[in-house]
Structures are given as C-alpha cells and as structure tokens.
C-alpha cells in the first residue's frame, strides 16, 4: 500500500509515486482457472510450441491483450521465426507479465540457447518473480557468453547488492564503470557497495562523480546522504537524504530497450510513463499520452489530475482547469485536485476562484502544508500579505523540512514591516537550504538595516562563496562597505 508523503511534501511539489509498485502486475498461476491456455517453448515433438497468450475474456487491460494477441497470432503463424518470439517476450516483459515473459524467453532461447542478451532478459523476468539465485546464474551465464553486455552486468551487480555480496557487487559495478565511464547508475551501485563495506569516503566520491554526470538522479543523493552520515557530516547528510527520498533504480539500456519500451501498453505503464515525463520536465510529451488514456478512462481521477498537472506544466492552464474541474466532480474534497486547480487559476489571474479552491483545499486537508501554501499564494496575489504570512507560518509548522515556507514567510514579513520576524525566518529557511542566494542577500541587507552587522557580514560571506560576481551580491557588498 502506498500513499502520498504528506508529512514531507512541500507544496505544491510533485508527489510522484512508484506506480508500478501499486499496480503490482503479477501473475496468477497456471492452471488455477482451469488451464485456459497453454504455451511452452517446445511442443511434444521438440518443435516450437504455440505462443503464450492472455486468455480472451479475462478482463485484463484491453490494450495489452490486443498487443499480446497480435504478437501471439504472428508467432503461431510463423512458429519458426525467432524474432517474433523475441517480440512476444518483450511485450510480456514490457507489461510486467513476468511468468509469461520467462516462458516466452524460454521459447526464444529454444532457437539460440546461447544468446546472451535473451538470457539477460529472461534473468530479469526470473528476478522479478522472486527466483533470485536463478536470475543470478542467468546473468552470469549471459556475461560468459557475451562479456560486452553491460546491462546484464549492471543488473548482476544489483542482485549481488541484494544478496549482501558487496565485494562482488563492487567489482561488478566497477567493471561497468571501467567500460562505460558515464554510467552514473553503475557509479551509484559502486557507492552503495562501498557504503555497505564501511568505505564511505570512497562512496562519497563515487556519488559526486555520478551527480556530475546526472544531477537529477535522486538515488545518487540518497546514497550520498548515507555516505555523509557515515562520515559524521550530519547536516549535509540530512539534506542529501531528503533530496534522494523516493528514488528509483535506473537500469542500463541494451539493444532491445527501445523495442521493449514501445510495447508498454497497460494503463499503469502509460500512466507511469506520463508521470516520468512530467517529473523529468517533459510534460509536453506527457500531454498526448494522458489525453489518449483519457479517451479510454474518461472518469479516471488519476488520469484527469495528472493531465491537469501536465497541462499546467506546459502553460495550458485553461485546459488544465477543464480537466481538473472534471476531477473535482468525482470528489469535491480532493485536496490534490483543489491545489492544482487553484494553481492553474492563479496562473490565469482568476483570483476569486483561486482563493475559493485554495480555501476548500485547506478545509479538506488541514494537516497538509501544501494547502496553506497555495492559499498563501492566493492571498499574496490579492495583496493580503497578513493572511499569506499566517498561512506560510502554518505551512512551516506542518512541514519543518521545506525551506520555501520560512523564506516566503520572511518575504511577507518584510512587506508587513515585521523585520525582526523576517530575519528569524530567513535564518530558519537558510538552515534548511543554506545555498539559497536570494535569501542570503535579503537577510544580509535586512540584518544591516537592523544593525546586526555580524549577521549581515556572515550572510554576505556565504553569498560571495556561492556567486561572488552576482549583481545582488555585489550590491550587498557595497551596501556593507565591503567592496
């Protein structure tokens, strides 16, 4: 069971969930419903057997069934064509149908038992259905057959970590990195093994290398956090751990990856694809995916809300409002819908509607900081800074990990003439996000106005350390007489 992380979320911040984990597409055992269909790699005579299928009428996702049906028909029409067998196996794999995938890969391997890449994919299916040691052996076999299969090597390393074989995992990931120095995810595999071996300083270096290659890889932040904690650098560790929360593994691609991804058909797969796109700043590509899903799921809250989110991300706020209002009909107290709706309305300067919906959001979820945050923005856009300040303080009390609340509350406090409060709020925000340049500059100027010279100079020094030539840093230096 999964839930949004309301206790840690910053508002309105994406609440991405591991969708597949919730779908938990898994398999019912063969024969349980009377052996509806049979599909094995080899028939009784040793000839290739019929294709594995999904039973018609089982009610499974229609798009997946259609794809599998087409590919299985093709296999049955040309049973000696190994490429068709591979396509069918990939289709199962792409849709998380692991036992069928395993059977289908067996069928393909009937044509070429020493095909390392196919063995790699069969190993993935084995691993997903819990046959860890069989998967381990399969990856090793694949690498014996084809030492260039870094995708297999990377997955082997992951299994070794899972099994506590950290020295082996370190060597395995190290080999991937030696062969592919830009494989940031393999670097993180190394870092995980190093952490487990108590070699945190080396782990930290590996994480930093990975983050230089891909700064958005959350898992790198999390593993770095563990390393920093081991090194006793607790403040930095906590920040990195928070940045890395809810991270996901990214595996190396292989020559079948593109085809594999093209077979992702299920509702869950496509929703996850869309979420991934939005989460990685590619909302433009997510919109058509979600629109297509909406055709088959016109009253699905998840589709409606995430389409709304994607539309907001690309600036189509009117379209966002349209779908979010449809979602609101399904549940008038859905605070996620209300927050996003208010956000879109705010972008279009529809302030009464924004205020109304943000107030509804607060009523629906009074313990969720995001609701106060969005209402604070409604107040700020209406010039009601006193109420905005109250809401931001409330948000900060509910979620003590998010720097935006105290920092934006500080901005309101300045407008309200509450300079001493503002100074405290800037300090609180900067404890959470020490590298926030505008806040450092604002705090420096404010502290100077309040006669807190040492605080001002300290803020200035930190700002200089971040961006010495920034226009606002230079101005602050002048104001303080330090340049």
């Amino acid at each position: 069971m999964l839930s949004p992380k309301n206790s840690h979320q910053g508002p309105p911040r994406p609440m991405l969930l591991d969708f597949l984990a919730q779908l938990r597409l898994s398999l019912i055992l063969a024969g349980l419903l009377g052996g509806v269909l049979h599909g094995c790699g080899q028939g009784p005579s040793g000839a290739p057997g019929p294709a594995t299928r999904i039973a018609v009428g089982s009610g499974f996702d229609a798009d997946v069934m259609e794809l599998i049906g087409q590919l299985a028909d093709a296999v049955d029409a040309a049973p000696l064509d190994p490429d068709l067998r591979v396509s069918l196996a990939l289709a199962f794999e792409a849709n998380s149908l692991w036992e069928e995938a395993e059977a289908a890969w067996d069928a393909a391997l009937g044509f070429d038992p020493d095909h390392g890449l196919w063995i790699t994919h069969k190993a993935a299916a084995l691993s997903e259905r819990g046959a860890t040691l069989e998967a381990l052996a399969a990856y090793q076999r694949a690498l014996e057959l084809d030492p260039a299969l870094d995708a297999a090597r990377h997955r082997l390393g992951r299994l070794q970590i899972q099994l506590g074989k950290d020295e082996l995992a370190l060597a395995t990931f190290g080999e991937v990195v030696r062969r592919q120095p830009i494989a940031y995810n393999a670097l993180i595999g190394m870092a995980e093994a190093l952490n487990n071996l108590g070699r945190e300083a080396e782990s930290k270096s590996a994480c930093e290398r990975a983050l230089k290659l891909n700064a958005t890889y959350k898992r790198a932040h999390y593993v770095l956090g563990i390393a920093l904690r081991g090194l006793g650098r607790l403040e930095e560790a906590e920040r990195e751990l928070a940045l890395g929360a809810d991270s996901k593994e990214r595996f190396l691609n292989d020559s079948l990856t593109v085809k594999l991804n093209s077979y992702r058909r299920g509702y869950g797969a496509r929703i996850q694809d869309a979420l991934d796109l939005v989460g990685t700043g590619q909302a433009q590509r997510a919109v058509p995916l979600l629109k297509k899903l909406l055709e088959s799921h016109p009253t699905d809250r998840v589709v409606l809300v995430n389409l709304g989110v994607a539309q907001i991300s690309v600036g189509n706020n009117s379209e966002a409002i349209e779908v979010l209002e449809r979602a609101l009909v399904l549940d008038p107290n859905d605070f996620a819908v209300l927050i996003n709706l208010a956000t879109a309305e705010g972008a279009l300067q529809r302030l009464p509607a924004m205020l109304k919906h943000s107030q509804q959001a607060v009523r629906a979820a009074p313990n969720v900081s995001a609701t106060y945050y969005v209402r604070a923005h409604a107040y700020m856009q209406s010039g009601r800074y006193g109420e905005a300040y109250t809401d931001l303080k409330k948000a900060a009390a509910l979620d003590t990990d998010d720097a935006r609340y105290p920092l934006e509350a500080a901005g309101c406090a300045v407008r309200l003439g509450r300079k001493r409060d503002a100074l405290e709020l800037y300090a609180a925000g900067l404890r959470l996000q020490p590298a926030h340049l505008p806040a450092l500059v604002a705090m420096g100027a404010l502290a100077n106005q309040l006669g807190r010279r040492s605080v001002a100079e300290d803020a200035y020094r930190q700002a200089v350390a971040l961006q010495p030539d920034h226009e606002r840093v230079l101005a602050l230096g002048k104001e303080l007489g330090l340049r």
Partner: protein
C-alpha cells in the same frame, strides 16, 4: 508558483488478474536463500491447538464485497494475566461491521487460561466491547498491581480498568482517553520516567464511509484501495499519565503532532542511548517516524537522518508490524518491520543511534519478497541462545499468484532461526508440521503454558484464531524474568543484561511489538549451552541500574526494582 510546482496524485487501481500459460505448471513460489545454501532443515516447532484448548474465536470483518479500507487489517490480540494467577489469559479484539460495529452482536472476548484450557469469561469480566477493534494495549496504568486493557477502535477507544476481582470497569471518559480517531497499534510506556505508564496511539488514515473510494483490479473486479487513495494521513496521539487515574493529551506540546503518517506498527525503546524512551512508528507507504525523546518530554522526528525512515534504496515501504529488539545482541535496539509483497521485510541495524538497512545480509530479505507480512516477533523459540523470528503473512489485495483456492489473500507464515550476529535462516517446512495457510494479521507472543518456551497466537482474517504451542525441538535450557518496577507494575522498557558466564544476552521487557498486539511482558531467554545465570543487570525505565542473581535455569524469577544490588 511555477509550472513545476504541481501535485501528482496517487494511483487508484490495484493488481491485475491474468490467466496465463506456463511451461512448468509449477504452482508454488520459489524462494532462494541468500547465500545459496539449502534452507534450515524442517523442524516442526509449533502445533496448532486453539480449538483443542477451547479458544474458539472467529474474526469477522464485516460485509463481504464492500472493500472498505479498515476491514483489511482489523482485529487485535492481547496476552494478559488479568487475574494475576501467573498464567497468560487471552483477549481477542473483534471487528464486526465498519459502519455499525454493534449490528452483528459480536464483541471482544476474554479467555481465562485455566491450566491450559481457555474459558470464555467475557461477560463476567465485562470486557465485551463492540467497537470495530484494531489495536490493544496491556499495562497497569494505575499502579494497583493488576493489568488494565486499552482497545484501539475505528471510532472511540476504550480503557478498561482492572478491578482486581476478575472484573473490569470502562473508565474511558474519566481517564480522558476516548480518542475518536481510528487507532491501530497502541502501547503503554513510561516515556517521562515518572513511574507510571503513559499511552501512545498510532492512528491510521482519517477514515469514514464517506471517503471510501472504488478501487479495482485491472480486470475490473473490486479490490481494496491503498491508504494513499484517501489522502488522509493522521497524527498519532500521546497521552501523559497524570498519576491520578487521568491522562492528558500531550500530542501538541510533546511535538508528536508535527508528524503525520499512515501508521500501523509501534515500537518504543531508547534508540539513541540518551536514557529516555523514544517511539518508532511504521508507516504504510510513507516515511517512518522516529520520535527521539530529549528527556524533557519533547520529541523530534529524526528517522531520515537516523536511517530508518526509508529503506536502503531511499524508498518508503508499506510498514505493518514492527519490533525493537537487540537482534544482533550488541547492546542496542535494532528495528525490524514487515512489508508488502514485492518489498522485503526490512532489518535496520542500530549502531549508537544510527541505523543501517542490513536486510540483504540478514537472510530475511528476498525470503520475504513474495509475502505481505503483518504480525511478527523475535524470540528464542528453540532456546539455543539466539533470537529467532516468526512472521505472520497475508495479502491485502487480489494480487496473483493465489496460493489458496479458497482464500485469495492467504499466504503461509514463516519461521526463521537465528544464526547469530543478526543472520537468519528460514525453516523450510514452515512453523508447523501441518501446513497452515491463511490471511494472518495480528500475532501475540508469550509463554502460554509456562513451560519456558515462547508460544504464539495469531489472528487470521475472517477465520478462527490459531494458537501455536511451542513443542521444540529445543537446543538448551531457559530462564525467564518478570520485571517489576517500584510500584509493582511491569517495568515495560527495562533492559536486562543476562550474564551466563561466558556470554551476555541483551533482552528487554516489552509488551508492545508485532502488529496490533499486546504480548507477554516477561523476558524469555534461551540459554543454549549454558545452564545457569551468573548475574542479571537491569537498567530500569527510570534510569536506575541494579544487579540481581545468580539464578537457576528452568524457572521464572521476579526482579523487583529496589531489591537488587
């Protein structure tokens, strides 16, 4: 706000059902041992004796096909020596009907242990509350020498004060503990070290029938929703015992209100070694909470930096049952919790307040991937001097593969034998000779027959409870301790260093662990090759230290605060 500042919503649907063809026709999941070796040899430690012993109680969760979230894990179990005769009695918390708990006329049941025969004395005792129960706690909150009962319900909770004459009185109102939130696990602890038991409640989602959602599998069948679908995490509750029979809600002033979650499991121990009792809450799909007590009654959640909020991958898991125990016997309190299938159960090793997810080398990881764990308990079932582990499993959705034709949620339970140093090996044949499969939830642990080994009771969803009597084989002698504070109540949280000459075992007096259960507060200790206890050093919850002993093996001994050296 920028365009990147939106909220994504949680997914509604659950598992998909698929009919497939298979080459192998294998119908059972296969699990490998982490080191590639064979599993531990079959050893039928337990025999199921509930009906034989007269403990006939069937859990009822309400109308079928309604799929209301609270139904999923309802019911609770407590082991309580309510009559002070030295043996454990059994209290079964019933669910009934979510909307109208009393409509089915099914209430909680108290069974008195009469020399191994359980007799229903609910009516005489006056504890047959009907409240759609989920949690239960046992403790002598009024320090009058007998065990009281607190029941966590979907709506108002109930406190039964033990009158000391075999009857109880509902004192919820007078005590001020009738929390109306949906409470699951709960426990009595002396968090402020003042000698009386306070009360911590884990509250699940803010639920009512009005917020129920319709969730479906991919093939269109109704199924249970996940807690994320309700968007309604809750704040847990801390009541401070005022010492006069009343409690004060200190959730706000203690700082507990600053954390929200979808909690199921509760553990309490001094995790950071500062001498004050801390709390740990296992959340379902949200980061777990580690409330560190500053010794002044103020708590701060430090789970993220301490390393027990998220697993080694940085992922929040579906926390269900939890236990704090010194699993590697090095003097600090580790954590273990049960999770959904496709997640491992997770072992967080504690080193001076810093936790490391060491599931992968524990032998408890991949072995749990296929199951959804709920109740669990570490005890030395075979008396070899190492903690073993029992895990009660059962699904929460119609996710295939199904392991039972009659119950799509059913899974087998698991028994792991400790190998020392925090490593375990699963018993191949399971906990019992006769294979049992059900949808298990709460599990309570204790020595029901006072023969020195730990037995257990577990609740199967919509089925009769099971009592597993420990029948060995045993690999050593045993010793047991009742640990009483200066007021005469069980000193819950007291830490014992049991010195058997060549070795020290660290154990704690603890009744609150597992999933929605209250357990035997006595300390049980298998001695392995040793046959005597040289000394027992006790760290009392109030901070004092005393030594006791020597002690003979094969007996229960009572340690009273103030009577040691």
């Amino acid at each position: 706000m920028t365009a990147t500042e939106q909220i994504f919503v949680t997914r509604v649907s659950l598992a998909g059902l698929l009919v497939l063809a298979s080459c192998t026709q294998e119908s059972q999941p296969k699990l490998d041992n982490s080191d590639g070796s064979m599993r531990a040899a079959p050893a039928a430690f337990f025999s199921e004796v509930a009906a034989e012993r007269g403990a006939e109680f069937t859990h009822v969760y309400g109308a079928k096909q309604r799929f209301w979230f609270p139904e999923l894990a309802s019911g609770a179990l407590a082991l309580i020596d309510y009559d002070g005769d030295g043996d454990l009695d059994l209290y079964c918390v019933q669910a009934g009907d979510c909307q109208e708990p009393e409509v089915l006329g099914l209430g909680n049941v108290l069974f008195r242990n009469d020399g191994g025969r359980f007799v229903d004395i609910t009516v005489e005792a006056g504890v047959g509350h009907m409240g759609y129960g989920h949690g239960v706690a046992v403790g002598d909150y009024d320090n009058d020498g007998d065990a009281d009962l607190y029941i966590g319900n979907l709506k108002e909770n109930v406190l039964y004060r033990n009158n000391g004459d075999g009857t109880f009185t509902d004192v919820t109102l007078a005590a001020g503990v009738g929390m109306p939130k949906w409470t699951v696990s709960c426990g009595f602890f002396d968090y402020d070290g003042d000698g009386d038991l306070d009360l911590f409640l884990v509250n699940n989602v803010n639920w009512s029938p009005a917020v129920e959602a319709k969730c479906e599998t991919n093939y269109g069948a109704r199924d249970y929703c996940s807690p994320g679908n309700y968007n309604a995490p809750s704040v847990d509750t801390l009541y401070r015992n005022e010492g006069d029979g009343t409690f004060v809600d200190v959730t706000e002033s203690s700082g507990i209100s600053l954390g929200t979650g979808v909690g199921w499991g509760l553990a309490a121990a001094d995790f950071d070694g500062n001498g004050a009792l801390d709390f740990y809450v296992a959340n379902d799909g949200m980061a777990n909470l580690l409330w560190l007590n500053d010794g002044e009654g103020h708590f701060t959640d430090r789970a993220l930096i301490a390393g027990c909020a998220l697993n080694v991958n940085g992922t929040a898991e579906a926390g269900m049952g939890v236990q704090a125990a010194d699993i590697d016997n090095d003097g600090d309190q580790d954590l273990f919790m049960t999770h959904m299938h496709n997640e491992t159960n997770t072992f967080y090793l504690n080193k001076r307040g810093v936790f490391t997810d060491r599931t992968s080398i524990s032998g408890l990881g991949i072995e749990s991937l296929l199951y959804t764990g709920f109740g669990m308990g570490f005890h030395d079932f075979n008396l070899d001097g190492e903690l073993d582990l029992f895990v009660a499993n059962g699904r929460v959705g119609l996710t295939p593969p199904h392991l039972s034709e009659s119950d799509p949620f059913a899974e087998p339970n698991q028994l792991f034998l400790g190998q020392g140093g925090g490593k375990f090996r699963e018993v191949a044949g399971g906990p019992t000779a006769l294979k049992l499969i059900g949808t298990s939830r709460a599990a309570a642990f204790g020595d029901l027959d006072n023969d020195g080994d730990v037995d257990l009771v577990y609740l199967d969803w919509a089925a009769p409870i099971k009592i597993l009597e420990n029948r060995g084989p045993h690999e050593g002698a045993w010793v047991g301790f009742r640990v009483l504070g200066s007021h005469g109540a069980d000193a819950l949280g007291a830490v014992l260093e049991i010195d058997t000459g060549g070795r020290t075992q660290y154990r704690r007096a603890d009744a609150c662990y597992s999933f929605c259960a209250a357990n035997d507060p006595r300390v049980h200790c298998g001695l392995g090759a040793a046959n005597t206890v040289v000394e027992v050093r006790v760290l009392w919850p109030t901070g004092e230290r005393e030594s006791f002993g020597p002690f003979d093996a094969g007996l229960y001994h009572t340690l009273r605060q103030g009577e040691g050296r």
